[in-house]
Symmetry: C2
Subunit: 190 residues, 2 copies
DNA sequence: TCGCAGCGATACGTCAACGTTTCACATCGT
DNA sequence: ACGATGTGAAACGTTGACGTATCGCTGCGA
């Protein structure tokens, strides 16, 4: 038993953990949840299958762990812009990520996974909730400062703003141009 | 060769086609695209595997065919309500369908399928486009009649309205209550 | 009526992924 | 230095779905 320096001390474990989790997200983005295989992750990571089974009981646990691990906030620096501008910047940032990124290509996989599996659902909903919290708070601040009408329901407005971005990405062949974010703000928070 | 009474004349073919397509959609809703099996569809339909392979080359063709076939318009009767009310009724209807229906449970499967396969994507986007066209036209009408501000971009507003409904369904644990549809209209088309 | 066509069932070989086990080797901490 | 431990590779039997082929049966339509 080691002296317990942190959660893991053997750098071999940390390294393989890192490459495996990265490969897992890459595979998820590339082929979707249904077609991800422990073997394909192992190959992509340049790792033996046994190394994966040694640390995770199954595919779901591995992918859930991967998302927990890469669970960064990714909120852009908004400086102290006026509320409306800050919201437009935030939405532009979201639109950029949603339009094209590894993360973006995982969204359909997460949506589908969430529909079939409770653990994926819990992660997916929590992750979404945390990311939209920043927007809700911006809107609340704008209402307090009188820059946004009091009649606006921050939760509903957030659904409309983020919803428009995701709708375009998932249901149409024309994702929202990040440059249009401010038009979206004008529309919903007019 | 038959006299060609319509596309198919043998009632056995029509019957098996119908039960197979129905079972395909049911399976898709229940287990998602990745876990749908020709064998599971055959069992659910009470049909031999060979009957399916006789008519479709593979799973994708079958599921695409199923959606083409069940491609109903499903637009509610809007009578001649004032535009804002008509939009609220339409959105309430969409919200109801999206919150809970067999079709609704296929949405994640379609989104995921669309991400990985061009044929599914084409269907999914076309289907979505057709369904949102009614809303775009309602908004256009409202603008023409002066009941909606000229500055509103019908396409963008449609993304925000439908997007809010889908966002709630797909990314949160609290789907939009259909009764809130009119609040949504007030927010976006204020 | 009666032959043909489509049916459901079942068996088949193939393949891919499963999860386990074994092994020699590299790298760790002490 | 060295024993302990994690590693990548490979082989294994098992499972589940693939797509094909072959039944005897049913019920269609001419």
């Amino acid at each position: 038993m080691s002296a317990g320096a942190g959660r893991e001390s053997d750098p071999r474990v940390e390294r393989s953990r890192r490459v495996i989790l990265t490969a897992a997200v890459g595979e998820l983005a590339d082929v979707g949840y249904g077609r991800v295989t422990i073997e394909s992750i192992a190959t992509r990571a340049g790792v033996g299958k046994s190394t994966i089974y040694r640390h995770w009981p199954d595919k779901l646990a591995l992918i859930a762990d991967a998302f927990e691990t890469f669970h960064e906030r990714m909120v852009p620096d908004l400086g102290d812009l006026p509320v409306r501008d800050a919201i437009a910047v935030l939405l532009g940032h979201v639109a950029e990520v949603v339009v094209d990124s590894t993360f973006s290509r995982c969204i359909p996989a997460l949506i589908e996974g969430a529909e079939r599996d409770q653990r994926v659902r819990e992660f997916h909903h929590r992750y979404s909730a945390e990311r939209r919290q920043a927007l809700i708070e911006l809107i609340n601040g704008g209402i307090r400062e009188g820059q946004i009408k009091q009649s606006v329901d921050p939760e509903l407005a957030t659904s409309a703003l983020l919803g428009a971005i995701f709708y375009r990405r998932l249901m149409t062949s024309e994702p929202l141009d990040p440059a249009d974010a401010s038009r979206l703000v004008d529309l919903v928070l007019a």
